[in-house]
């Protein structure tokens, strides 16, 4: 006979904790109570027992005994008293099946088999070796621990769960899996069984910091194979030449022998580069390429010859096409603005005479040079010295030969504008709205104004090429700022990286706020992320493409590489290894808690019926009788 839920000490402590207050309450409840009554005349003549001068210590001992026994029975039920031997009690086991990306590697034991096949066989053999009364929970472990079944007696369901387990895309997080298994066993109402790990023990980080559970069993899967694979590929536009992609690749040899491999790049079906590498054992090599293209497409990297783990020999990432802004400039003096737009990258400027003006453009930007358009432009526009009646911003005054006063501050439109001591031969002064951005001002008011809205507009009160500004670096900078403000998406810095699924870490620029970050999956659904200082982290358990937009920087992560392990975990010395040898013991074991709970409940009900009926209930009954009573005792 033994307790399943509590130790004997816990049981005795609980019994004492309940019994002592019960006895105290019992004695208190039966102590003499002082009551003020309307009269004593009916108390004396009724058939009372003799007046008690000496108080008894315990009255109604049967009530006390019934209460104590009933509560003892309920405690025994809570402690789950069982008859028989504890060895025969069904147990709850957790089977952790390694489904990390590494499990897709070829098995060193047999041809055309993977490590996953070996692990499945061992897991099935383990389940078969357990007594049929034991419950097993199957947990698939890669970067996350995912329960595939609850604590199951049904061996068929467990078999199906094992057979349906496939290698994932992330590396094994064994610490999390063991913690999850322990937590589940703690919550389980059954006797704690084993936590069994099936796999080669290749983990993502260092060895688990937490102490492994004492009931750990390890079924190792042999994985002594050679592998050399891609760790990461990253591309970004060259800072010196925007048409050139700088490509960075990292190759690691996970095996014990040096390897000679060839990394070849293919862009859009055409070879983009190839390089031979000698990678020492357990070492990493980095290699860079430069590839010139303006168009977008798929860049494939392949490592040859293939090895036992081909999943990390091939990576694909998408290179975005270089965006360009179409600018249509309606001017009768195109020579004035040509130098400015020739200096701006990613801008395709087309100069047209004023007579060819069309209100509906090509979706790009329109620049109107000193003329009144018959119809205002549909999209974004820059107005240069418009006629007073045609200006989108009302003109307050026209001035001649005025000194330029100041540039705005705090707006990205004025970044880098430092020119001073300018004189404007003739300029319009605008009557700007409160929401307008006053880019440049003279003493009497703004002369360059930017206005937000469905269509953005910037209005110059003077022609920059017909003033002192034409000699200043500020002119192309000012136009560049305006174009960036009007079409920020075209000026984003693009980069791409091919890496592994799982936890992805990215360094952010220092001026990026939390509200300017967006992490989205391929289908546009947002992905949760965290930021700590300048570091952004997100987790993707599945292969795919994730786009990170941080202010004006756009990074596309092609998570096509499997997440590889960093270290091999060694099972602790105390852990059991191999399949368990026990069979179903013939000993007898049976639960008694249902019977004990029923008996305890019955005992309490009997005690209540005999001694503990509440006064309130009696009052209610008597009140009803009192209403009827005068009617019965009818006066004549």
């Amino acid at each position: 006979m033994y307790f399943l839920n509590l130790s004997l000490g816990q049981f005795l402590a609980l019994t004492a904790a309940i019994s002592v207050p019960t006895v105290l309450l019992y004695l208190l409840g039966r102590s003499r109570r002082k009551q003020v009554v309307a009269t004593l005349r009916f108390w004396v003549p009724s058939d009372q027992p003799a007046v008690v001068q000496r108080r008894k210590k315990i009255q109604q001992p049967l009530s006390l005994i019934l209460q104590l026994v009933s509560m003892l029975l309920l405690l025994l039920a809570i402690a789950q008293l069982r008859v028989g031997t504890s060895l025969a009690t069904p147990r709850s086991h957790v089977l952790i099946l390694d489904t990390s990306a590494w499990m897709a590697a070829a098995s060193p034991v047999a041809a055309r088999r993977t490590l996953m096949d070996d692990a499945r066989d061992k897991a099935r053999a383990y389940v078969k070796s357990l007594p049929v009364s034991d419950r097993v929970m199957l947990v698939r472990a890669d970067g996350l621990a995912t329960p595939a079944t609850s604590f199951e007696l049904d061996r068929g369901k467990l078999e199906r769960g094992i057979l349906q387990s496939e290698p994932g895309a992330t590396a094994l997080n064994l610490e999390q899996a063991l913690g999850f298994a322990q937590h589940e066993q703690d919550l389980s109402p059954y006797r704690t069984g084993e936590i069994t790990y099936v796999g080669p023990g290749r983990i993502a980080g260092e060895a688990p910091a937490a102490t492994p559970p004492k009931n750990l069993r390890v079924l190792p899967v042999a994985d002594s194979i050679e592998n050399c694979g891609l760790r990461k590929i990253a591309v970004r536009r060259s800072p010196t030449d925007p048409d050139v992609w700088d490509i960075y690749a990292s190759v690691r040899n996970y095996g014990a022998m040096p390897r000679a491999v060839t990394l070849s790049l293919v862009f859009g079906g055409a070879p983009a580069g190839a390089r031979k590498l000698n990678v020492p054992a357990n070492a990493e090599r980095e290699i860079t390429f430069a590839y010139r293209t303006r168009s977008g497409g798929l860049l494939e990297a392949a490592l040859r010859p293939h090895d036992a783990f081909p999943a990390d020999d091939h990576a694909v990432l998408e290179l975005p096409a270089e965006p360009a802004l179409a600018v249509t400039i309606y001017s009768n003096e195109p020579d004035l603005l040509q130098p400015v737009f020739a200096a701006l990258p990613r801008v395709h400027a087309a100069f047209r005479p004023v007579g060819q003006y069309r209100a509906t453009g090509n979706g790009g930007l329109v620049i109107l040079d000193r003329f009144r358009p018959p119809q205002p432009p549909v999209g974004n526009a820059i107005w240069i010295q418009p006629p007073a009646g045609a200006s989108p911003v009302p003109v307050r005054d026209t001035l001649e030969n005025v000194p330029f006063d100041r540039w705005c501050s705090g707006s990205p439109l004025c970044n880098g504008l430092r020119a001073k001591d300018l004189r404007l031969p003739t300029t319009l002064v605008f009557d700007a709205a409160p929401d307008d951005i006053k880019i440049g001002q003279v003493q009497k008011g703004p002369v360059i104004v930017a206005r937000s809205g469905p269509s953005k507009a910037a209005v110059f009160g003077f022609h920059p090429a017909l003033s002192d500004l034409r000699y200043e670096l500020a002119t192309p900078l000012l136009f560049g700022n305006i174009l960036r403000w009007m079409s920020p998406e075209l000026f984003r810095r693009s980069s791409a990286a091919a890496s592994s699924a799982g936890m992805v870490t990215m360094q952010l620029d220092s001026d990026v706020g939390a509200g300017e970050i967006a992490v989205t999956q391929q289908d546009g659904t947002p992905l949760p992320f965290t930021t700590h200082g300048d570091t952004l982290r997100f987790f993707s358990g599945n292969p795919g493409t994730v786009q990170v937009l941080a202010k004006d920087r756009e990074t596309a992560y092609s998570l096509t590489l499997p997440e590889m392990w960093n270290a091999k975990w060694s099972a602790p010395a105390g852990a059991k290894r191999g399949l368990p040898g026990y069979r179903v013991p013939a000993a007898f074991s049976r639960d008694l808690w249902e019977l004990l709970a029923v008996l305890g409940g019955i005992g309490l009900i009997v005690e209540w019926l005999l001694y503990g009926r509440s006064e309130g209930r009696m009052r209610r009954v008597n009140a009803r009788l009192a209403v009827l009573r005068p009617g019965i005792r009818k006066a004549s």
Binding site: V37, P49, V627, P630, S636
Partner: protein
């Protein structure tokens, strides 16, 4: 905080159709609403009798004289205005269950007063405990209820009951017989049967309204009890169990029966009410059934 009124308006409106009735015939001023077996100057015909010298000739039945050649005198029924007096117990024993019993007694008194006022009866209310307290007299219609409510609301419990002294005072101060309503728990250690018998013998019609709280009739406590008399502070220690409780209740009921017998034996009426019962149910049920009011 203003005190809640003893009776609400809806209940008062329902009371307006009721009348206080008594059974005995009393001498009193003409103009009441209850018939008397005494002949007098009323409007309703009562009987004939032979004419005697000195009788009022206006009451002779001349039609009978023409037919029988004998003079018969017509007698008429008198409808006297009988004084209604109400004694309300304010002893400490009425304060049980946090004054619920006394509140109930006050509500009953207010309801009976209102019934009387509506029928233009004159009602004298006097509180009592060991002695008769200062009373108030009300009459003259329903609009005079407000002082009555104020008076009843201001009554406080206290002191022990002494029915003998109270009855002695009452008899000496109220010579005219009439209807006497006593609202009390009738819990006097010296016994109240004899004083009540004195009142009946003096000629008053008794209407005994016994109010009890549930713990007066069925004490809810069990086990060792240290009992203290609310009026005398006398103590009694005893063990109390279910059997004792039943015996106690039987004793209480026997006492209530003795009060009922006393009232009935003397041409009066008895009503026993529990303070736990709704007041409306008691007024329109128990009191109407016992013909105290109709």
């Amino acid at each position: 905080m203003p005190q809640a009124p003893l009776l609400d308006r809806q209940f008062l409106e329902k009371l307006e159709r009721l009348t206080i009735h008594w059974q005995k015939s009393f001498n009193g001023l003409v103009g009441g609403h209850n018939n008397s077996r005494f002949a007098g100057g009323g409007q309703e015909f009562l009987d004939h009798r032979h004419f005697h010298h000195g009788d009022d000739l206006r009451a002779v039945n001349w039609r009978a004289y023409l037919r029988l050649e004998k003079m018969f005198l017509k007698m008429f029924q008198v409808e006297p205005r009988v004084p209604v007096r109400m004694l309300i117990d304010t002893s400490e024993s009425m304060n049980s269950e946090d004054g619920a019993k006394f509140d109930y007694a006050r509500k009953l008194a207010a309801a009976l007063c209102y019934v009387g006022l509506v029928r233009l009866d004159t009602i004298a209310i006097r509180p009592f405990a060991a002695r008769l307290g200062e009373g108030m007299q009300c009459g003259g219609g329903r609009h005079r209820l407000s002082p009555v409510m104020d008076y009843l609301g201001a009554l406080q419990t206290g002191g022990r009951t002494d029915y003998l002294e109270v009855v002695r005072q009452f008899i000496s101060t109220h010579q005219q017989r009439g209807l006497l309503i006593i609202i009390s728990d009738f819990l006097d250690d010296a016994g109240c049967e004899k004083p009540l018998q004195y009142l009946a013998d003096f000629g008053h019609e008794l209407l005994l309204v016994q109010v009890w709280s549930e713990q007066d009739r069925t004490p809810p406590w069990l086990g060792d009890l240290d009992l203290v008399d609310a009026e005398t502070d006398a103590r009694l220690q005893l063990q109390f169990d279910e059997a004792a409780r039943e015996a106690y209740t039987r004793g209480f009921d026997r006492y209530a029966d003795s009060l009922q017998q006393l009232a009935l034996r003397n041409g009066g009426r008895y009503v026993g009410v529990s303070a736990a019962a709704p007041i409306e149910e008691i007024v329109f049920g128990t009191l109407v059934r016992s013909r105290v009011i109709a």
